[in-house]
Symmetry: C2
Subunit: 113 residues, 2 copies
């Protein structure tokens, strides 16, 4: 049994990550972008159920935290492309861990039926 202080120290970095990727949509968006750069409407289709308002807001948050890059191309009309930054790509270990656990969890749920 370790000290309470040690435990609090341990929690801190996790809280920092949660501040950035918390919520229903941010990780799904990042995963979608890990499959390739996407335009707004493509994301809207691939992140099932998200509304344009939420997508717009979440993309802004992710860009602010430098996890994704928004590129505007000078076409007519302008086209906008979203991509993962290198920093965003470094979240893949987190996503892998979540995904592995999620798959186990699904199996557990189905096994019960």
């Amino acid at each position: 049994m370790k000290s309470s202080r040690e435990c609090i120290e341990y929690i801190r970095p996790v809280r920092d990550v949660l501040d950035i990727i918390n919520g229903k949509w941010k990780l799904p968006i990042l995963i979608s972008l890990s499959f390739g750069n996407k335009r707004f409407k493509e994301l809207e289709k691939e992140v099932e159920g998200i509304t344009p308002k939420m997508l717009s807001k979440e993309l802004r948050d992710l860009e602010m935290n430098q996890l994704i890059i928004r590129s505007v191309y000078d076409t007519v009309p302008v086209s906008v492309e979203y991509s993962l930054s290198e920093y965003g790509k470094s979240l893949d270990s987190v996503i892998d861990a979540l995904r592995e656990w999620g798959k186990k969890h699904r199996n557990k749920l189905f096994a019960k039926l």
Copy 2:
């Protein structure tokens, strides 16, 4: 570049996990319990900033999803102890990944100052 369908399949298990551990408090609570069984008031201190109302609600959610166990001991007055279930313990890989990334993120933030 993979298919959109493949991407959506990839997202699904992650959304399942998020349904269970989403929010500001659940992971901190689980981490605290990973350091040893705790009583209600102990958790209230160790998960800094949480109010008893939120703690109570989150503990109920976590218990419902079988990630933690609530044991009531027949003392006078009764004492209540919370512990991680085996299933809850299996989240350690997720927590490790989050923690590692969080530590890197902190370093990045401090490096900027």
